[in-house]
Symmetry: D3
Subunit: 71 residues, 6 copies
């Protein structure tokens, strides 16, 4: 511990994933006083139809915004 | 909050995913008295070898059923 | 499946928990065409220091709001 | 219940997935005294850039090791 | 990895928790060929109003059963 | 998104929880280029019998260590 699960929208680059893993681990070690070796992070990526806010998937939201902005 | 993670078998259509996101959000808002904007839903899909009941994956179960029904 | 994990702030009544379980299950059955028996819902409650938005726990947010409103 | 989520690195064979589902279910039934039908297992697979220990993704760790071992 | 989250109804004894942790770990090591040191298990317990099947919480189900059995 | 679930051993202070929420959020915003308002963190605490490594709960491990160190 700590064990961290992070849910992201798909599409992050390898560089971003490596950077966020390092940065979160440092943040946790500094504030909780744990050793880096105890920190594990699992990332799960979600497509645009697999995440919703206010009952609307991200994909539908994008579609609606594009419609409202004209073709 | 609420934050909801929903595990589904793979294969739902975009229409189904949009419909279930809207319906769950309405269900939660009505019964818990929260605003729709606070409801987030994450969907994770699992393949037929990544879900098991009673120690048998869905894929194995299907295979067994097909066998028992003859070729 | 579907298996649903719902994260809530602590403090919901038994009546609310029963109502939201019934309502989500109905929402899922109607939109995904699954049988109610296949729907499982797990609720995890989080205290005010165990949920944060924008880097601020709910507890700290409440504290700040009370301060800004006087006394 | 029990409901079990298992996070694995990608790349397990169908045979391994079926074997581990059966073995975990038996382990749970024996030690907790539950019926196999109540045990559900969800597997989520993570790629090498989606799992990190000590702030380093599995992919980066492999890369570093290969470098240190020479080409 | 593997990292395992197990959801249980509240009320397991310390002995049961220690036994199931050992048994699952052995099951995973044997079938997936991993070292025991890589297996981490997290248990989350859920009260009777925090788990539902078919839209009915475990608490409500018990209540109904007791009613149907007389006083 | 990102939505982050962090599993901790029980016993962190309110100050630690507030500090880690702020630090993780900043780490995520800096490396992924997201706005702080989109970052949600859920903390779940686990008791010493609810977390195991290598098939041994944290509670059992502590007990064994105390025994091996004499009374």
């Amino acid at each position: 511990m700590p064990i961290i699960e992070m849910h992201l929208m798909t599409g992050r680059s390898v560089e971003q994933k490596r950077a966020v893993a390092a940065a979160i681990t440092e943040a946790v070690c500094t504030t909780l006083g744990v050793k880096a070796e105890t920190v594990r992070i699992l990332v799960t990526e979600h497509g645009s139809e697999d995440f919703s806010v206010a009952g609307m998937t991200a994909g539908l939201r994008t579609e609606r915004q594009q419609e409202s902005e004209g073709i």
